[in-house]
């Protein structure tokens, strides 16, 4: 059963919201209201080291995205300094071949990446929930056609497709990137959500809602989706990770708008100015490391949720393995 799994006692210590009182006694256990699930996740984050590391990393990047001016004082776009300066206290990462402060570029570039990660993450997850749950719940012909759509999109190679579309669109900037990535990348998580929703379909509490005569929309929104909160969060993390990697890759090869401040465009200019070959490795290393760190934050959180959902995967203590 889905008992809370962190070591904390299982009593529902979070006050119930008026609207989300637990269902009839028998069904109550299978049904964890969204708020309860979120509280459970909060506890799990504190007790799981991977989750904690991911949360801290994410918080740092969020701060940089919200208040870049507090961390970097220079204007990232201004060619204000001598080009190709080395690392110093005035320029933490040195300056570019155009004389821009790299640290400022890196910090101000966070915002663009985070916007893409969160907007695509939310939008793609929204589509995935809609299509996955609708397919599972409506069944029949609906399920057939929605699943087919999902599967077709799932097997078409996404990155080449993205390259082609972005190529036709002629570097339309962040909005185009967000649109293109969202439209192409929801299918993987939609499939996961569909199978989860399918396994819920025969549960008592849904049967009860049907017998009560609730409308379908009500059942889907109020009964099914809240029970899937942890999977939806995992889907968001997956989509956000893809968005970061895809968007940075497209910007790196010059299919974004090269004038945006972002890590991918930094890499693009570094590659175009042969930064590695001309003794300015930081120009390429720093934004790449940030992409990797942000990606790792999403991946760590996701992996931790996997462990939370599947206790068999949780790390074991070494001393317990005493095999003959």
């Amino acid at each position: 059963m889905s008992m809370p799994i962190s070591g904390v006692p299982t009593a529902p210590d979070t006050g119930q919201l008026p609207g989300t009182a637990p269902g009839p006694a028998g069904a109550g256990q299978a049904r964890l209201p969204a708020r309860h699930a979120l509280a459970r996740m909060g506890r799990a984050i504190r007790s799981n080291r991977k989750a904690a590391a991911g949360t801290v990393l994410l918080a740092i990047f969020l701060f940089a995205a919200l208040f870049p001016g507090l961390i970097a004082h220079d204007d990232p776009g201004a060619d204000a300094y001598q080009p190709k300066l080395g690392i110093s206290t005035a320029h933490l990462l040195g300056t570019t071949a155009q004389g821009q402060d790299m640290w400022a570029q890196l910090v101000w570039g966070t915002r663009n990446v985070m916007i893409i990660a969160f907007v695509v993450g939310l939008a793609a997850t929204g589509i995935a929930v809609l299509i996955g749950v609708a397919a599972a719940y409506l069944g029949g012909l609906w399920d057939g056609s929605l699943s087919l759509l999902t599967d077709v999109l799932l097997v078409i190679p996404l990155f080449p497709l993205l390259i082609i579309i972005a190529g036709y669109a002629h570097g339309g900037g962040t909005l185009v990137l967000i649109l293109v990535i969202t439209v192409t990348s929801w299918s993987y998580t939609a499939r996961q959500l569909r199978s989860q929703a399918l396994s819920l379909r025969k549960r008592d509490f849904l049967e009860a809602a049907r017998v009560r005569g609730e409308r379908r929309l009500y059942i889907v929104v109020v009964e099914i989706i809240p029970t899937m909160t942890s999977l939806i969060v995992a889907a968001f993390l997956t989509n956000a990770l893809y968005a970061v990697l895809f968007a940075s890759s497209l910007q790196f090869i010059g299919l974004g708008d090269p004038n945006t401040q972002s890590w991918g465009t930094m890499l693009y200019w570094a590659q175009n100015n042969a930064a590695l070959q001309t003794g300015q490795p930081m120009w390429a290393l720093a934004p790449g490391a940030c992409i990797a760190a942000l990606g790792a934050a999403f991946a760590l959180l996701n992996y931790a949720f996997d462990e939370i959902g599947n206790p068999a995967l949780r790390p074991v203590r070494r001393k317990r393995v005493t095999r003959a």
């Binding site: 991977k50 087919l148 599967d151 077709v152 097997v155 078409i156 190679p157 990155f159 080449p160 497709l161 390259i163 082609i164 579309i165 972005a166 190529g167 036709y168 669109a169 002629h170 990770l241 990697l245 940075s248 890759s249 790196f252 090869i253 010059g254 299919l255 890499l267 590659q271 590695l276 070959q277 490795p281 390429a284 290393l285 790449g288 490391a289 992409i291 990797a292 990606g295 790792a296 999403f298 991946a299 760590l300 992996y303 068999a312 995967l313 790390p315 074991v316 203590r317 070494r318 317990r320 393995v321 095999r323």
Partner: protein, 328 residues
Amino acid sequence: MRFALRRLGFFVITLWAALTLNFLLPRLMPGNPALAMLSKFHGQLGPGTLHALEVLFGVNTQKGLLAQYFSYLHQVFTGNFGPSLDFYPEPVTSVIGSAIWWTLGLVGIVTILAFLLGTGLGIVSAWRRGGRLDSVLPPVFVITSAIPYFWMGMVLVLIFGITLGWLPTEGGYYVSTDSPGLNLTFFQDVLSHAALPALALLITTIGTWILTMRNTMITTLAEDYVRMARAKGLPGRRIMVDYAARNAILPNLTGFAMSLGFVVSGAILIEYVFNYPGVGYMLLQAVQGEDYPLEQALFLLITVAVLVAILIADIATALLDPRTRTGG
């Protein structure tokens, strides 16, 4: 049999979807990219070529969309993708033919290596649960799986190519001093050029194999038949390989069959970083040079490769595991 037919049906539908996408994209995009392309190359193209391109991209035609669609399908199925505009007048098919072997060699070998090494490490890591290997590998590879391939490539270029100066950092061989042929120097030349891109790919892809294998194997190790084998006093290696790994390897095998399909497209950015003369680098050049015929053909090639691999993976899984045959 019904299962195989259903998978085949899915294959056909997906192929059709990809073809249609390829047809619609240049026509629906704002600003009519194909028209811009044709006017750029105006005067350099023969009348026959011009006609073939007009059919492929729907320019200068009074025909309706549906009629255009059918003549497009006809051209694609007869293998007529028109000439490459960057390499004019060479046909697209022969341009691709010269690049594909580089990609198949580099990415194909790395894919096989990553699968073998990763699966092996996953098996050992799960078997020695909580051991030294097991406490290091999973967290490390959760992180490497988030590293963009191309950045790993750049880091390796910096370390081994520029700082240490051990290995060449771009191209498939020394174009100026060496020429392709069946001799030892050319072979060594190719190998040294492939080393860094191969390493970058290996590092970034091996994690998935390790983690999948390890996690499935852990589940398998808890099965009763494994306990039974232990109770019988079978040697540990035998239990690990014949009892646990053999049953746990299925997801990895399916994944392997599928990843073979991604060999063609899997290393676009690695090839870009290293200027490696393969299909991925060619795709990016085609996009940047607005060589739409080459672009279209490459996208179709990539998609077909993936679809065929998925079909094979599905059928292989069904043959190996009877339980999947009834399922979707």
